[in-house]
Symmetry: C2
Subunit: 752 residues, 2 copies
Amino acid sequence: MTGMRPALSLLASLLCVTSLVGHAQDRPAASIHGFVPARLDAQRALEARFDAQVSTANLKAWLTQLAGRPHHAGSPHGKANVDFMAGLLRDWGYQVEITQYDVLFPTPTLRRLELVAPTTFSARLAEPALAEDALSKLQAEALPTFNMYSIDGDVTGDLVYVNYGVPADYEALERRGIDVRGKIVIARYGGSWRGIKPKVAAEHGAIGCLIYSDPRDDGYGQGDVYPKGGYRNEHSAQRGSVSDMPVYPGDPLTPGVAAKGGVTRPEFTKAQTLTKIPVLPISYADARPLLEALGGPMAPAAWRGGLPIPYHVGPGPARVRLQLAFDWKLVPAYNVIATLPGREFPDQWVVRGNHHDGWVAGATDPVSGMVAVLEEARVIGQLARTGWTPRRTLVFAAWDAEEPGLLGSTEWVEDVADTLRAKVVAYVNSDSNARGFFDAGGSHSLERLVNEIARDVPDPKVKGSVADRLLARTILQGSADERRLARDQRHFEIDALGSGSDYTPFLQHLGIASLNIGFGGEGEYGQYHSAYDSVDHYLRFQDPDLAYAAALAKVGGRAVLRLSEADLLPFDFTRSADRIGRYVDELGDLVKTLDSDTREHNTRLAEGAFTLAANPAETWIAPKKKDDVPEFDLEPLRQAVERLRVAARRFETAAQTTSDVPASALTAANAIVFQAERTLTRPEGLPRRPWFRHQVYAPGFYTGYGVKTLPAVREALEQRAWDEARAQIPIVAQTLERYAGEIERAASVLAR
Amino acid sequence: MTGMRPALSLLASLLCVTSLVGHAQDRPAASIHGFVPARLDAQRALEARFDAQVSTANLKAWLTQLAGRPHHAGSPHGKANVDFMAGLLRDWGYQVEITQYDVLFPTPTLRRLELVAPTTFSARLAEPALAEDALSKLQAEALPTFNMYSIDGDVTGDLVYVNYGVPADYEALERRGIDVRGKIVIARYGGSWRGIKPKVAAEHGAIGCLIYSDPRDDGYGQGDVYPKGGYRNEHSAQRGSVSDMPVYPGDPLTPGVAAKGGVTRPEFTKAQTLTKIPVLPISYADARPLLEALGGPMAPAAWRGGLPIPYHVGPGPARVRLQLAFDWKLVPAYNVIATLPGREFPDQWVVRGNHHDGWVAGATDPVSGMVAVLEEARVIGQLARTGWTPRRTLVFAAWDAEEPGLLGSTEWVEDVADTLRAKVVAYVNSDSNARGFFDAGGSHSLERLVNEIARDVPDPKVKGSVADRLLARTILQGSADERRLARDQRHFEIDALGSGSDYTPFLQHLGIASLNIGFGGEGEYGQYHSAYDSVDHYLRFQDPDLAYAAALAKVGGRAVLRLSEADLLPFDFTRSADRIGRYVDELGDLVKTLDSDTREHNTRLAEGAFTLAANPAETWIAPKKKDDVPEFDLEPLRQAVERLRVAARRFETAAQTTSDVPASALTAANAIVFQAERTLTRPEGLPRRPWFRHQVYAPGFYTGYGVKTLPAVREALEQRAWDEARAQIPIVAQTLERYAGEIERAASVLAR
């Protein structure tokens, strides 16, 4: 309790600072979170020197180089890119390591899709070369359109259209008396991560799965199609992994361990994350004849897409044959890891990464982000040659084999897990980038850091900072709460992270506080995972002058430099506590909603409302009675949140005293602060997916990339696994208590 | 105050009845509103005899007869239908009059639409004959696709896509820097009544207007197209009137007076309700090349329809030439008016009507409703020949020339207005009918009548009454309030009437309480106002066995028989008071919303949010600052509503005593009761449109068919005409006070 006295005496100045920041119109902001006043000017000067050296010419040159040819994992140009980047980084003064993991990378030896009844049609399954696109002419070295980690298969069956192919869609089909057992489903992209679609289809007994890009969501429904405009044309298909990534990412054959040396690999068919049925992505030109041949009831209004046809669900008379075979080979995945040792805290690492492999040439995904990371590394390398050395160790990483399922990053994280757990302060990820609005997701303890950075980086095309634009959009489109936050505190919130890029192993396997950053929303991006994600496309439709790649470098560079140079690491647990508190409130709301929906459903059933309102001319199967929702005691979670809030306030107050705190105490506090996120993990992981250890953030078991917060409880409730939910509540509460305990400890150290 | 004593003593039994009805599972309900217990059995027996005689064979035979050929106003088959129906009605014992009005009915002599740049295309403007549809082969006698009361014109201009063409759409265009002055707009059907589109286009300076049926809203987006399915095919276009009907319906040359005898008609070009610019409706096959040729920005996401193209707004490079010329002739419009005089109250008329003219053959619109009215008349004629005579006078009407703008009904109403004002108890309208859910709109004093009828008519295809199905759908789809009403009181609400069918002159010009009834929602109706609205279509896709036409006859027949036979006319002012109270509350909410939206808008403008969030690569024009919303004193309206509520309760209580009330008092009360709705009109009408006299219900000046309740105040607020809104509040309040006064008077008469 003695520790509270200096903190309290500083409360007034704290409030004053908050208020000042809240209404600050002068930019850059007067203070930078984590820096003592005496070091502010030096940091600002450092960031100004950084900004001044960021070169769009470099960005463009590297984009052209790296994305000049197809460069998937195991490809010659992929390896050339690795060597090229490693060479650059060495030249810039980094210690560079190229790590190699040998990972399962099946590529197609047979892809055939035919409509066999009532008419016949053979799908093209190819993206034609275009005069306007140099890359599209290099098809010989490109991966064709396919979904990686689909199993081999030769299946023939009646077709059923399943909308997005999520569980609710199958319920809607069941109401219409439609069963997909023994049938081939066709789902449109969207509504979930693609890997969920074959998983749920197989759970319902389907024998094959097609996934197509509907032109309303991804095609002419968005704008002019390529090459006239930037959107997906009729022959373009979205490649992508369909592994069961919510179970574990990385090499399917080596979960939890590095795919190298003498690691024991099972028979590939035993890999847990392969699909259970064959899956193929197709274009809307290939999908149209199939969908057009469907009979049966009309699809529900919300399922109808942009093809000029009535969308029926089937089953049949459309009958299709799908043949797929793969070469189940291993390929080497190469990460480039470049290190600049820290002067004062060499064992505190700030890791900045982006993947380098593309499905084809990946100008947008991932090269647009990769070049920003390279430029950050170059400029920081320059700074380090001109009188400055980072206080902490900086690690720049280029990951390979992200596309098939975060393989490069995951294998490395699994390889050196103990080191990373001990040393990494934070991981800052990027991936695709284009012109538009700044977007960030991540650990909420870093939300304040992100806000301050976004306030200090000018938008390249609009007068104002990238935060100003984001806040303006929030004011126009956000909820009342978000608007208030934007206006009163000039603060924007960041999204929780699910999955979909290389932060996952850091955040969700190891509990390393992470960020994912990028710009976008004003390009014309219809080439996701297609052969047309090319330099030609990028320079016409995404970020013609690389201005937003430069902006990304300025954001990423600042993140690295502030995490590296801070006196007290710029973590803000108040935002974290608030957000976790909101997630707990959401669980309470979820229980209430489940209960009232269940009662309403059962009442409707009892009063015959469903049957009375059903169209007598159509088949309609009444749903089942739902089991009652029991009561749940969320009090342990609420108490943990309360303790967390108090701890966060104590820490925030204590953190105001950094100028007076002895260096040894700061050092001790920092060691606790960056490790705090680790306490949000449990070694046992989540139920049925031990690889995912984070108890606050996880990709949804039935959403894929989409996040589920407090997943152990939330998903149990959503799946109506009442006992599991009840069992998980105290476990999650204990986790939150441990987190609060670490923050208390850090506060005490500071206030000593 | 003495009048209250017996009322209070009966309150307990009143509550008891409400409770019994609220939970009654026995059907038919124990009581019928307006009938003394002693006469209940006789009425039930009468209705049972009515039901027993309703014949689907008749309905089908007349459908086939009336819709066998094109029968627009002035056509040979139209006149044949009039004579046929008049003959039937005479045979059934009615006094039949055929009224003739000579009305402006311009038909096209030239229709030409061409894309003249950047490529050329000549629109087909025709609905081809189909092997599956006999009617489609009779094109020679059919009206072509056109919009009636478009002016002549020959205009050439750049094309602009304006979405639904409502005022908000032009604001969105303005934000994008797009001005339609001197241009031709293309709007899609929907979002407002069609006549609003050229009106708003002309207000914004456009020189021509095309209206097309987008396939998402009206075509393959709904299901299989004709003739495979029932929905609109690519060549089908929606004919329809584009007169400025919210100003006045009926013959454009004779507003307020009958178009007959020596009436003075202005030069046709002087008619106030003609469009200001030429207008033509087109099919989606004709629209596609035009829309596809548009450049400029992408249309906002919500504007994009179902064509397989990116929807741009223009202007140009698409440039079109539209040529239209009409033969501005008069044609005779013939109504059939069949009367069965009442035994006891010959000067109290119950009027039941449906129009008989179609745009082409109109199997659905209007014949499906017309045949039900005929069958009601036939069965009632039979009943009147077998020992029963109606207590009140029954009038069955078949209106001509509804399609061009309610001409037949309006001219008749204007012709014999004084008689109708004095004598008509209520008007019951129908129009199109198909299988599905019962739907009713009308004066809320008749909401209870409609509920009781719907409870007593069984659904022809689903076990339960037509009310049961409607209540079930309300439970599945309604708001929490609607659900509660459905469950606790087994009561459904009816919509307020705007315009779109022949109730308008009765309700909104004369203040005659009106209902509009019909079934629908489970047919496949994609042939609205097309040449394919045929018997073939109807019998395949709308109501194959005419079961729902029979259900309509049972509903309509009951409405007539209950209004005819009631001891106390079945008006329920409590529902009316509640609903008007809600409309007043809505005005309060509207003021609050206008105020908060205005403040938010001006704040956003001041803080630069619009500009910051706009895409710097696109043109974007900041909106203007909005004038502040002043305060409005709605207290006079609230007080009037309170008085109305009290009066309605007094009346309801007094009405429980009908068994004890002397016949003379019932007669006196009835005379007040059916006239009460008249007090909701003002002879001055609404601002700028004196023909519309009802102060509670009116078609919206900028919505067309869509209703605006308490329109004098609501529309003034919506148009930000603050002074007018302020001036209209006391006027509307006085109107409501007069209405309350009449109800008080009726209650006093009953309680005497």
